[in-house]
Assembly symmetry: C2
Homo-oligomer: 314 residues x 2
């Protein structure tokens, strides 16, 4: 049986080459190639065009190649087969690198020193807050959120987490559900969002939420770091909240429209750091091996891991 690699936006060649190397005995097709639909048992997808998987009579499993499966949930013609998310140590580590980097940049006022460097000015600001005085709040406590929380705590940050359903967080304070949101936000100086994008989370990063963040923390105002999905954020609210001081700054890896249009006010905003949706890129070497291992498990009758709850959407 064959694997169909259904990728848009990323270049599919590297992935196809990787899968061919890992499974030389199988046929690996790219979307757009000519192939026998009946032969396809597995799909490895990143943003396949809606409907493009609809006519595969023997399809058994769909693998998502990136963190997040909202790209799949948006396909109204998605075949009713198990959908498997990627859980990959390499991907997890990369997301934590990003989260720790950008929390430290805010803690250590790197943008202030960048500006001083541009102006050839030496001011040392002796009395800076220490990490233990800065409260980081992580929204989303899946594998990525848990790992980032643990590493932020090693650096000394005062970390808490929030998730839809209750989750233990390695001895760190953890809040959940609508009921826990206010308490969580009111103790948060840096809000890090790693939530999945679902009907329930779309637009959750809006003025009403920002207004509940800790107003008087050691950083002089709350910061937002969104490395989840652009659909989680209301960009007009972020801009307005930066203007009126509800937010002191934002680090955004994701946007309502990607690539971020050249005319977006985020690019030139002095309190905003823009990165091009690469907080945690899927590495074909590592993720490819995960997919092939799942196929092996499936065919050996050992059961798939990390199956998505399509009702919840993640």
């Amino acid at each position: 049986m064959s694997l169909l690699v259904a990728i848009t936006q990323w270049e599919p060649e590297t992935w196809i080459e990787r899968f061919r190397r890992l499974m030389p005995e199988r046929r690996v097709f790219a979307l757009g190639e000519s192939f026998d639909a009946a032969e396809v048992q597995y799909v490895a997808s990143w943003k396949h065009p809606a409907g493009s998987l609809a006519a595969l009579p023997n399809l058994a499993v769909i693998f998502s190649l990136g963190a997040g499966v909202d790209h799949l949930m948006g396909d109204p013609c998605l075949p009713e087969v198990p959908v498997v998310r990627v859980v990959d140590e390499d991907l997890t580590n990369r997301m934590s690198e990003y989260v720790v980097l950008h929390c430290l940049m805010r803690l250590r006022q790197q943008r202030r020193y960048d500006e001083q460097q541009r102006q050839h000015v030496w001011i040392d600001d002796r009395f800076q807050p220490a990490a233990r005085e800065v409260r980081v709040g992580l929204m989303g406590l899946g594998v990525l959120g848990q790992d980032a929380a643990r590493k932020l705590a090693v650096l000394g940050f005062d970390v808490a987490g929030w998730s839809r359903s209750p989750k233990a967080l390695d001895g760190l304070p953890s809040f959940s559900g609508e009921d826990g949101l206010e308490a969580f936000l009111s103790r948060t100086d840096i809000l890090v969002c790693l939530l999945p994008l679902t009907a329930g989370t779309r637009g959750i990063l809006n003025r009403s939420l920002f207004a509940q963040l800790a107003p008087a923390g050691r950083l002089g105002g709350p910061f937002l770091i969104n490395a989840g999905r652009g659909g989680l954020q209301v960009e007009a609210d972020i801009l307005a909240c930066l203007m009126d001081g509800t937010l002191k700054g934002a680090t955004l890896d994701v946007f309502e429209t990607e690539p971020l249009p050249p005319a977006s006010p985020f690019w030139a905003h002095p309190a905003v750091t823009v990165t091009p949706h690469n907080a945690a890129m899927s590495d074909p070497e590592s993720v490819g091996a995960q997919v092939v291992e799942q196929i092996r498990r499936f065919e050996a009758g050992e059961g798939l891991q990390n199956i998505v709850d399509t009702g919840l959407g993640y």
Copy 2:
């Protein structure tokens, strides 16, 4: 008995206020005030003027208020009493914040994305190295170096250390002495220097050392991070090595002359990050309490901790 607070370059008021709060029963003088020299048993120093402690007949201990004691060792009239370095968890954490931040900025190519942001350009550079593919080498394995090494390893970096005398490094590879330097440098993509400044380390960060760093690592060339002392580095060599590609970039918190003169080429160099010698600032709250605890130990006959070997100079 009294404490003399002998500080230049930092504002002494905060320190004096802190010591008075901690020891209301004692007299705390500032250098320059009028006081009875015979009354002074302790000195808390940060860059006191050479000779200014010479005529204190009952002086028993000198405490350094910052990491590093080179400012004391440079005083040819330093009284022959025990010199105590500060070992403070808060100071240690701050140095590790700085080291992890700047290693992550190099790993994640933050300067490239800063430049793209300035130009409103979205290029995501999918295939970045992971932390495990980047070798960080820490020179100096005292309390600061050990803590930074441990935290870098938690982030996933491939960490090794080097020190003058052999030191165990929590299961990480550790090199020592002249004999171990070549092997250490040849496996280093990011060199982090936290060495003390002594006669033996002055100018150690020079072309001959940079030329031994790993030339072909995943970052495309070696980076230098110096958060130790400016006297450790030969700035003309750093600039020349950046020019000819021996170094790919540098993050410098310390300089031969501080404040860094406005005309220094480091300010505007695109491959250099300048910070104003504040990687790890001494916090009067925390360090003040350490000094007072040492005074208590000394007077209770429990012995001073963290005494400097004035022969070695650290």
